[in-house]
């Protein structure tokens, strides 16, 4: 990776960190649990990395490059990663929605 790309990625990372702090700092305490489980679901974004990784491993296996054994192990890791990330994403979003559905104002039914 050239130094320009590295700097750009680090730049994005730092901006996102500040944005995250700004977004969250004024959340009322009653929403802390849904906020936590909602952002927890977002951390399942690693599923994107997992899907990309399985594609690389698949490509190397099909083309017969590198060490086949390592690539098969890599493919299995990727598969399991996708599974767990999906549980995190789907479970996280639905459970957050269920919780938020229970929060009611006075007079709501």
């Amino acid at each position: 990776m050239d130094i320009g790309t590295i700097m750009l990625l680090v730049f994005i990372f730092i901006l996102a960190a500040f944005l995250g702090v700004e977004l969250i700092s004024k959340v009322p305490s009653q929403l802390h649990t849904p906020l936590m489980s909602g952002t927890n679901a977002i951390s399942g974004i690693t599923i994107v990395g997992a899907i990309a990784a399985t594609a690389v491993d698949s490509y190397l296996i099909i083309e017969g490059r590198g060490s086949l054994a390592a690539e098969i192990i890599g493919l299995i890791f990727g598969f399991v990663a996708i599974f767990f990330a999906t549980v995190n994403v789907i479970g996280g979003y639905f459970v957050t929605d269920r919780m938020l559905g229970m929060f009611k104002k006075k007079g709501d039914n």
Binding site: E71, F79, A81, I82, A85, G92, F94, D108
Partner: protein
């Protein structure tokens, strides 16, 4: 062929930007009560876009594959394998989220968080196994090592937190000299990353060399163990802090997983989660007047409070009938719930009591301490499940100024968050922690199972105050019996 892959790359990049915007808007809306549900939906849409984008991006490999046979085989592998895992994961996640009881929510959040950490750890390992990896420079190697480190700690740390929250005995252990052990583990782990980074950046051709493999195994093992030793000594009442911290870690792991593959959506959304988790951690620490550093590295409640040496007063117990007579005359009632309400699953009974009190002409409010329960906002979720409108749930800052006008404060399974020692006893480990000033109410009812102290093992002078009466027994039964008294 080159133009095709350029177009795909550009399309993918635009979709990643769109996904990031959805995540940002989603988190923003998630922070306000009336838009929270929509916010959750928006961030779900963002996730969908990101997943579709990466599938589209993977088509590039099909384009580059040699020959039609290879292309077809690769197409099926690239779509078939992930889709199978996604379908299986969706079914498990969906069913789990529907069947869980609200009282089991802290455990579930911890467990899901552990899965996120595990996934990031595996992603890094899978990238490592691909060997060629996308680049072979020190920066990629170090970020990949950090993904493994943070992901592993988030994984085992969350699993331990899950075990502790579900009350499994095996998870109530202590590590001898924890700071020393954790320090050594951390040091060895970092050496592992350095080994790996050297092996990685100095290698030639494809495949990892021996130094790299040793480094990576060392890193994985050490940080898996560190997750356990770091969390296992942390006690029940500190759980809200550690859960939000672990949440931050799993986000950070996802962000670092994005560096080696230069994936912007991973970096942005992982970092958003990391930052928000860290903020929540600090809010929780502030609510307990504790420094985060102390929480991780000093044990709490180990030193017994010595101040209790003076006269030992016995708390006064009261029968349900007498308690009812006091409650019947009360015009202003505040209910202060704690973890005990969750354990007794008393939230529905509490709502009934709240209804009969209101019918009786009393004003009823709930005072929720930020760290009541085992996760941030735990009490709010339970009371929302029992249909208590959220306007009735007040923070301690709102309630405290009016506390002297309150006729009866009912403390249900809370202890340290109402301990007046935090205000007037400088020798107490709780000193300085903001509390709900229940002791200022005219009468205080404390619903408690037995005479023991809270998780911290600290004596609570509130229980022996003149205006405090104890109602011993299961909180749910006590509350239900009070409701029955009102109905008669």
């Amino acid at each position: 062929m080159n133009t095709a892959s350029n177009i795909i790359n550009a399309l993918c990049f635009i979709m990643y930007i769109a996904a990031s915007i959805f995540f940002i808007l989603g988190i923003k809306k998630l922070g306000k009560a009336n838009t929270a549900r929509k916010g959750n939906l928006l961030s779900g849409v963002g996730m969908g876009i990101a997943v579709i984008a990466v599938f589209i991006n993977n088509i590039i490999y099909v384009i580059y594959a040699d020959g039609v046979g290879h292309k077809i085989a690769l197409f099926f592998m690239i779509f078939g394998i992930p889709l199978f895992a996604i379908i299986a994961g969706s079914i498990v996640g969906f069913l789990w989220s529907k069947k869980v009881e609200m009282t089991g929510m802290p455990e579930l959040v911890a467990l899901f968080n552990g899965f996120g950490g595990l996934a990031s750890l595996l992603v890094a390992l899978s990238q490592f196994c691909a060997g060629k990896a996308l680049t072979n420079d020190a920066f990629s190697a170090i970020t990949l090592g950090l993904t493994i480190a943070i992901g592993a700690v988030a994984f085992t740390g969350s699993i331990i937190a899950w075990g502790k929250l579900s009350g499994k005995k095996a998870f109530k252990k202590n590590v001898p000299v924890p700071n020393f052990v954790n320090g050594i583990l951390c040091g060895v782990g970092l050496i592992g990353i350095i080994f790996y980074a050297f092996g990685y950046s100095s290698k030639t051709g494809t495949g990892a060399n021996a130094l790299g493999v040793i480094g990576i195994i060392l890193t994985v093992v050490v940080f898996i163990v560190l997750g356990v030793t770091l969390v296992i000594k942390i006690g029940g009442g500190d759980m809200p802090v550690i859960i939000s911290f672990l949440n931050a870690l799993s986000g950070l792991a996802a962000a670092f997983a994005g560096f080696p593959i230069q994936n912007t959506v991973l970096i942005v959304s992982g970092c958003l989660v990391g930052a928000s988790g860290l903020i929540l951690t600090l809010i929780m620490c502030k609510a307990m007047n504790r420094k985060f550093f102390d929480l991780l590295f000093k044990s709490f409640g180990a030193k017994k409070s010595t101040a209790a040496a003076g006269e030992q007063k016995e708390p006064k117990a009261m029968s349900i009938e007498d308690a009812f007579l006091i409650l019947e005359a009360a015009k202003n009632v505040v209910i202060i719930p704690g973890y005990g309400m969750a354990v007794a699953q008393a939230q529905h009974a509490v709502k009934e009591l709240c209804d009969v009190l209101e019918e009786n002409g009393a004003e009823v409010n709930f005072a929720i301490h930020p760290v009541a329960g085992r996760m941030p906002g735990h009490m709010n979720v339970l009371l929302a499940e029992a249909n208590v409108p959220y306007e009735q749930l007040k923070t301690s800052d709102d309630i405290n100024p009016q506390m002297s006008n309150v006729d009866v404060a009912i403390v249900i399974g809370a202890n340290d968050v109402v301990n007046p020692a935090a205000i007037n006893d400088e020798s107490s480990p709780l000193y300085g922690m903001p509390i709900v000033n229940a002791y200022e109410a005219r009468t205080v009812f404390v619903l408690k199972r037995g005479k023991g102290t809270g998780f911290s093992g600290i004596e609570n002078p509130l229980f022996t105050n003149e205006n405090t009466v104890m109602i011993y027994g299961d909180a749910k039964q006590t509350v239900s019996q009070l409701v029955v008294e009102f109905e008669n």
